[in-house]
């Protein structure tokens, strides 16, 4: 879409508030949230008498059905001149080569409305017509003039393409582009109320689970079976959350380091954790899919059985045998999982994912610029979305302990 362009500047993310005593969960941003901050669309605007507002909009809907596929739900379709940014108002009148009333080019009293010479009694409001890429002035003007009379003025202006994700953002955009509405049910992320309710639950246990995950990470490295990466998988039922699986990285278990390469890619901590859950799920041996017993999870490259004592000791209960994949389980990861593991979490239908150490070079969950930008925890194209957070320790990373994992490692 040629009419869409990016603003040259980025809105910097606000620095997280100092963590409280128990540490802090920072909700991940979706890829659409990140993009919404910088994407605008060019549209035509005009002014119409209030009495003709709805008939004019009706005409626009006929000329451009469904707004040509663009969603304007977050924008005011009609705006009183007083709430339209001054620069937009000025361009409207100057761009048309005609003088608007003095009251419009300076600050306008919102209640007073817009009055034109010769039509003293007629109050006019601004109308957002359509994206400039969808329709041309030559096909727009004759139709509009059939309702509004001759001399209809058109102007182009930029509007934010996607809905604002906060009231503050809506206010800023309303002052810069066009009056915006912030609706809490944003179309490109989980509902704010759902996130905050879940966050309270996660906050109560995250520290202990993360500590366990780091314990697994240390053990995996010290025992030589893998890199210092670990995950803990938690089942939450009726308000009670219990660990069902703990897994350390196992990429060097029965694998030659001197062979080069990245080790056994299928034995990353996340993949092992998912594999361990699958081992606990019921198998229907009467179904044809149970025959032959393949893949062999014992002799092959998969590491779906405990390699570390801690992996035997950590689980507080067994995996629910009637479960479907890892449906609605929660995964707590020492490091942001790599692209493969992030997508494996999506395929496995986890409900919540939390990680502690951001992996800018390799991580697949975050959408932020500065990383890969994939934002796999919540993407509209995928058939599954979850809730996601980064966990920040109260006293800094691991309370002064050093993370030995290379920043470029695929965790």
């Amino acid at each position: 879409m040629n009419s869409e362009s990016a603003e040259s500047h980025c809105v910097p993310a606000p620095a997280p508030a100092p963590p409280a005593d128990g540490g802090q969960l920072i909700p991940l941003k979706t890829i659409l949230e990140i993009r919404a901050a910088v994407r605008v669309l060019n549209v035509y605007i005009t002014t119409v008498p209030i009495q003709k507002a709805s008939s004019t909009l009706g005409l626009v809907r006929t000329l451009v059905p469904r707004d040509g596929g663009y969603d304007f739900q977050h924008l005011r379709r009609f705006a009183k001149p007083g709430v339209v940014p001054e620069g937009v108002r000025r361009r409207y009148f100057e761009g048309c080569g005609e003088d608007g009333p003095e009251s419009l080019r300076s600050s306008v009293d919102e209640n007073e409305g817009l009055k034109e010479e010769g039509c003293e009694e007629e109050t006019k409001i601004f109308l957002l017509i359509a994206a400039t890429s969808i329709i041309s002035p030559s096909s727009l003007l004759p139709s509009l003039e059939s309702i509004l009379g001759p001399g209809v003025k058109l102007s182009t202006t930029e509007i934010p393409l996607l809905a604002p994700t906060s009231a503050e953002q809506a206010k800023g955009w309303s002052e810069k582009y066009w009056p915006c509405v912030y609706k809490k049910s944003i179309p490109f992320g989980p509902h704010v109320a759902i996130v905050s309710r879940a966050q309270e639950e996660v906050l109560r246990g995250v520290r202990g689970w993360m500590d366990s995950a780091w314990g697994l990470a240390d053990a995996a490295r010290e025992e030589g079976v893998g890199e210092g990466v670990g995950v803990v998988i938690v089942e939450r039922r009726g308000g009670e959350a219990r660990v069902v699986v703990g897994a350390g990285d196992g990429r060097w278990c029965r694998w030659g380091r001197e062979e080069g390469g990245e080790g056994n890619v299928t034995a990353h901590a996340v993949m092992r954790g998912i594999g361990m859950v699958s081992e606990g799920l019921a198998r229907d041996y009467t179904s044809p899919s149970a025959i032959p017993p393949f893949p062999d999870t014992e002799g092959g490259i998969f590491r779906n059985h405990p390699l570390l004592d801690l992996e035997n000791d950590l689980p507080e209960k067994e995996v629910d045998v009637g479960g479907y994949l890892c449906h609605d389980l929660e995964i707590y990861c020492t490091h942001e999982p790599c692209v493969m593991c992030s997508m494996a979490i999506v395929h496995s239908r986890f409900g919540r994912a939390v990680f502690e150490k951001r992996m800018c070079g390799t991580g697949g969950l975050c959408a932020d610029e500065g990383g890969l930008g994939h934002g796999l925890w919540w993407r509209k194209e995928l058939n599954w979305t979850m809730l996601g957070w980064r966990w920040v320790r109260p006293l800094g990373f691991r309370e002064g302990r050093v993370d030995v994992v290379d920043v470029e490692l695929d965790a």
Binding site: G224, V265, I274, S289, C326, H347, S348
Partner: protein, 245 residues
Amino acid sequence: MTNQETRSEEENAIHLNYMREALSMAELALHTSETPVGCVIVHPSHGIIGRGMNATNRTRNGTMHAEFIAINEILSPSPESSNASSLTNLSSKSPPFVTENEEERKSLYPFPPRILNESTLYVTVEPCIMCASLLRQFGIKRVFFGASNEKFGGTGGVLDVHLGNGKVSGIESNETVRTTSNQEEQMAHRRNGDYEVSGGWLREEAIVMLRRFYVQENGRAPEPRRKADRVLKLEVEPLEGGGGV
């Protein structure tokens, strides 16, 4: 992405042959209530070294896609080896590829992981994002696929994991990469692990295979959808721009 138009007839015939092998794996999956995606991995001197089909239902593991199964087959010890049990004992943590006797290693593990650096994957459906990353980390050389995967695809469908791990400069993923970057810029983005990808090979056959599966019931999903009314559609719309076979 390159396609068969730039290759000789003889070369195309070779690729199509391997893609038919991949399709026969997909067919096997279909008959065992698995999503019918199949693949083979081919080495220039050893021929087909691994075969895989989707196994997510039978393993209760959503990551057991065909590519994982095929790589598992290649890097597992030979089943006929009598000594295999000692090395596959789970309590043994010693690396398999390090034994003092090189002959023994070869007899147990016919292929070291680096064989993938010289091998080509033929898969009926574009690798998903997870598998595209798996292939990248194992260092596959080339990928030929049948149908594109606009919902999960990791080699062009949704992300370009095969190029610089899919990292996008700027804000718009697909559009930016496709419209603004020229060959030179793409090369600059390339890092270790990038691989060549070619799509559209026996695309119609791959799609019809999937449709045959989707008219069946998937009773294992939490809320099974009624599929009894679904009708198998056999004609496949051509790709825009004539990219398909």
